[in-house]
């Protein structure tokens, strides 16, 4: 079975980023060595839309980050973004634009000011499969 195992430190950084940008959507990447499925490096990305209902990586920043990953032998293991008023489940928009077949798509919801929902999915050819998240202490 597919699971996402994520170090506590990276989990906390994603939640902190989502909280910080609330009520706008926050987005970013966890990079890891290619082929290992191990997220190791946190990269907060700019939401070029600065919107509470939409996100898009800034294209210039994405180019540089993808280039760095390529140079380091890394790949985007996790692509995360937040929903700030709805549940942490991929929307129709999320599904139609999902373009990294190997990535874990992490959705964080900050709709509740205390409890943060943190869930992970594979999105492939329009099909969403949720997977358990294990936080490694």
């Amino acid at each position: 079975m597919i699971v996402l195992t994520i170090p506590r430190e990276l989990y906390d950084k994603i939640v902190a980023h989502a909280r910080q940008d609330h009520p706008d959507e926050a987005c970013g990447v966890l990079a890891g060595p290619a082929g290992t499925d191990r997220p190791e490096r946190f990269i907060a990305m700019t939401n070029a839309e600065r919107s509470p209902t939409f996100y898009r990586f800034d294209s210039g920043e994405q180019f540089r980050v993808w280039q760095d990953m390529d140079d380091n032998g890394e790949e985007p293991v996790v692509i995360y973004h937040s929903h700030t008023a709805t549940e942490a489940y991929p929307s129709r928009t999320d599904i139609s634009y999902a373009s990294e077949p190997e990535a874990h798509y992490v959705l964080v919801s900050t709709r509740d000011s205390e409890a943060t929902e943190f869930r992970s999915y594979r999105i492939l050819d329009g099909v969403v499969t949720e997977e358990p998240v294990t936080v490694a202490e």
Binding site: Y55, R56, Q62, F63, S91, T93, E100
Partner: protein
């Protein structure tokens, strides 16, 4: 010499799995037409209604071609063109 084109994972079904391919042309649009000869179907994933698809980023060397001339951007031997799917979505 030719123009090197880097292909993202999701489009490698059109290039027999190749991470990069080569093509020729004097503009980006011509380059894509040239690639289409050998990698049928690729062009349709890049272009829509005579322009670049909205959620595909294309870079000439390190510049987003949307800030250059789009499909009319001049290209030359030795250039590198990188295609990356935009990472986007949202609650609505």
């Amino acid at each position: 010499m030719a123009i090197e084109v880097r292909i993202p994972t999701i489009l490698r079904t059109y290039t027999d799995g190749a991470k990069q391919v080569e093509g020729t042309g004097s503009t980006l649009g011509e380059l894509f037409s040239d690639l289409e000869q050998r990698h049928g179907g690729l062009q349709d994933r890049l272009i829509e209604g005579g322009g670049l698809r909205r959620f595909v980023n294309v870079y000439l060397n390190d510049e987003d071609v949307r800030f250059l001339d789009g499909l009319d951007t001049p290209v030359k031997d030795g250039d590198t063109v990188t295609v990356l799917p935009a990472v986007a979505g949202g609650a609505r």
